[in-house]
């Protein structure tokens, strides 16, 4: 018998193919270089300040780089406080909106609502800042007051210097992490909604109809089919929202009045975040001060990177799981 060896195939790439591959690969490499350069250059510029401050950079609260007394303890925790307030508010909002669009909305309305959510994700953050500062702040103070009066015994809701005197000034409640958190919550709601909606809509039709056919109510079906299938999307979308919330700059900067000490009372005036610290201090910074700001930026960069990697891993896994 003749031995059945596969005919050896030889790829002959003509000049067009070579050019094509080279161009495409070069594009990919340039983008990769830019993206890694962000981390490298921030680290390079930050090294001066980091070398000077050493490990105390992580637990100093003040920000006086020229007196060599600076650290990100206060701003990093402040960033997380604002982001956590935002996620706490945005999670029910986006969960409800995603469920409404994927389960309850009339068929004709669905596509327009999806478009509307996408459009909302493109609203500039400075417009949210305007709304937060000029409209929300005045209206939300009463709620903040009520929370602090009713739940003031819980430490984070306590407000120093608040008395129940109706004539006392409201300024102790303005420019707080709470208000900044609400604004950021609205900014991250669209992106969280669109991820959750996408995952919900992939919940298998067979199981949905099975649940309804067995006599489940709408909620029974959602609880036993849609939510378990969409769990990864909920977690991943929330983490992606958290990543956005951590990096938000202008809207937060416009609302908060910066403090450089750990400020756990979310309703009380005074808050801080890394990005607003940079926006606040870059103008007056000396060379060394700029280096310190670069170090703060680097910290923000790594935190968001970790959160985003986690989020995209979870979303990707839940997507492949849902489709199988």
């Amino acid at each position: 018998m003749n031995d059945d060896k596969p005919r050896s195939l030889k790829m002959v790439s003509d000049s067009g193919d070579v050019v094509y591959r080279t161009v495409a690969r070069t594009g990919g490499i340039i983008v990769l270089v830019i993206m890694t350069a962000i981390g490298v250059f921030l680290g390079f510029r930050a090294s001066q300040a980091l070398g000077e401050a050493g490990l105390s950079f992580f637990w100093t609260q003040a920000w006086e780089p020229d007196a060599n007394n600076f650290g990100i303890a206060a701003v990093l925790i402040g960033t997380f406080i604002i982001a956590l307030v935002a996620v706490t508010i945005a999670l029910p909002l986006s969960l409800g909106t995603a469920l409404y669009i994927s389960e309850y909305a009339p068929r004709g309305l669905k596509q327009s609502l999806i478009t509307l959510v996408d459009l909302m994700a493109a609203i500039p953050s400075v417009v949210f800042g305007l709304w937060g500062f000029f409209s929300l702040q005045g209206n939300i103070i009463d709620i903040a007051k009520w929370i602090s009066r009713t739940f003031g015994w819980i430490p984070i809701f306590a407000v120093d210097g608040f008395s129940d005197d109706p004539l006392s000034s409201d300024t102790v409640f303005t420019a707080s992490s709470f208000i900044a958190g609400i604004v950021v919550a609205l900014m991250i709601t669209p992106i969280m909604t669109s991820i959750m909606r996408e995952v919900f809509s992939q919940a298998p039709v067979g199981e949905r109809e099975g649940a309804l056919g067995l006599g489940a109510t709408m909620w029974g079906m959602i609880r036993s089919v849609v939510l378990p299938f969409g769990k990864g999307g909920i977690i991943g979308g929330t983490m992606l929202g958290l990543g956005r919330a951590l990096g938000e700059t202008i809207a937060v900067y416009m609302i908060i009045s910066p403090v450089f000490s750990i400020q756990p009372h979310i309703l009380q005036s005074g808050a801080s975040s890394i990005s607003s610290l940079i926006a606040l201090k870059y103008g007056e910074a000396t060379t060394f001060g700029m280096s310190a700001l670069m170090a703060a930026g680097l910290a923000l960069f790594f935190v968001t990177l970790v959160v985003n990697f986690g989020a995209s891993a979870i979303v990707a896994r839940s997507r492949s799981g849902a489709s199988s």
């Binding site: 921030l42 409800g96 609203i123 305007l130 009713t150 700001l293 670069m294």
Partner: protein
């Protein structure tokens, strides 16, 4: 062998009207209305006599909580616990979605309404702020410098990101391998890069290292760094949707990769790619923080991206509202309205282009052709009628016969209109 089939007369079964599924019962409506009335009245009483919370937001919050309680109570009178729970979720989901949509629309409308004060002044679009101080009225000064700045910066950013972004998206799709997967992971993680970090990066490299001044170019570079991952990801998704059969057919006919890309893949994905570009543009135009660090601030007109500070729309808003003067704040809102209008129209253009498929395009063209034919037909009908009656009207000048002739024209027109309408309904 024959099979006997019992055929029942169709009208025997169709007498029963089908059971209505999912229709509203009177008790559903009544319990909803009852709960609304109960909650509003209770809230009003609480507000007048007890007042635990003040303000409009507090009123609505209290009313909503009371509404939930009242509604649960009313439903539980004639339904079991499972249904009550279902209804509560239904109400909660609807109200959460309504909250989100109403608030987000309100954010946009708020900027537009507050901006309406500055927009009617024509000088707002033709002057810069170099000669107008904070105390000057709105009839002095404008934002032409910010509009120009935004246009120049976004053009430079697009000139960088479109070639680079699309090439990378093609790379991610066409040249598989471990390296591609790595690049994709990096790009995906960068989509949520804090925008201030991209500003810092350009500050660290272009300004501190290469000695570029704070300028429009530096701002454009910062915007590009921020837009690049967004565009790559959107274009990547679109390119993945191009059917591989098309590409294989092209390769099978002897085209090389380069030709397949230019003549098959890119034209097929054209509308999606345009959408990706426009969406990234909409995000890039609205970014403040990268521009804040890199472009500097000026109140004067500057169309040179290489020298001197150059202000963009979001940065102008940011600087305007820092001032305590009401006119400056009005200018800030006016600028925000202009920015919102630009972003929304870019978005709508993107949707209009992105929503197009070949089938839809063909259908739209058919509809246009049909419409043209209809119009032509009606035009001829009207012309014929007029020609017929015109001679008669001229010959019989008595008012009675003229009235009759006019009546006839009207009848003809009504007939044509009814025909047109029935045609429209058929489609």
């Amino acid at each position: 062998m024959t099979t006997v089939v019992n055929v029942t007369a169709p009208d025997e079964t169709s007498k029963d009207s089908p059971r209505r599924i999912g229709a509203l019962r009177i008790s559903d409506v009544l319990s909803l209305v009852g709960a609304v009335v109960a909650s509003i009245s209770m809230t009003s009483i609480i507000y007048i006599y007890l007042a635990p919370v003040g303000g409009v937001v507090g009123y609505f919050a209290t009313a909503y909580v009371l509404f939930l309680v009242a509604y649960a109570l009313l439903v539980s009178f004639d339904e079991n616990m499972t249904t009550v729970r279902d209804r509560m979720v239904l109400v909660a989901v609807h109200s959460l979605a309504a909250t989100v949509f109403v608030t987000l629309v309100f954010v946009v409308v708020f900027a537009l309404v507050r901006g309406a004060e500055a927009l009617p002044h024509l000088n707002f679009f033709t002057q810069d702020m170099s000669l107008a101080g904070p105390l000057d009225p709105l009839s002095d000064g404008g934002i032409i410098h910010a509009i120009t700045g935004t246009l120049i910066q976004i053009s430079i950013a697009l000139a960088i990101t479109i070639p680079l972004g699309l090439t990378t998206a093609i790379f991610l799709n066409e040249i598989p391998g471990a390296f591609t997967r790595f690049v994709r992971t990096i790009v995906e993680a960068m989509t949520a890069l804090p925008s201030i970090v991209s500003g810092l990066f350009i500050y660290a490299t272009a300004i501190l290292m290469f000695g570029l001044n704070k300028s429009g170019l530096a701002a454009a570079l910062a915007i590009s760094v921020m837009m690049l991952p967004i565009m790559i990801r959107a274009a990547d998704v679109v390119l993945r949707l191009v059917p591989s059969t098309l590409k294989e057919a092209s390769l099978g006919l002897g085209a090389n990769n380069w030709n397949t890309m230019w003549r098959v893949t890119l034209p097929t994905a054209r509308s999606g790619l345009v959408t990706a570009i426009i969406l990234a543009t909409a995000r890039g135009i609205g970014e403040t923080s990268p521009v804040l660090l890199t472009s500097g601030f000026t109140a004067a007109f500057n169309a040179d991206p290489l020298h001197g500070p150059m202000v963009s729309l979001p940065l102008a808003i940011f600087q305007f509202v820092k001032s305590p003067e009401p006119t400056m704040i009005a200018r800030g809102f006016g600028t925000a309205a202009v920015l919102m209008i630009i972003v929304v129209s870019l978005f709508l253009v993107a949707r209009a282009i992105g929503g197009q498929t070949v089938a839809k395009k063909v259908k739209a063209r058919e509809r246009r052709e049909q419409w043209k034919r209809d119009v032509r037909e009606i035009y001829h009908a009207i012309a014929a009628t007029l020609a017929k009656t015109d001679g008669r009207v001229r010959n019989n000048l008595s008012s009675a016969s003229r009235r009759k002739a006019l009546l006839r024209i009207r009848q003809q027109l009504a007939y044509i209109r009814s025909r047109f309408r029935s045609k429209g309904n058929k489609r």
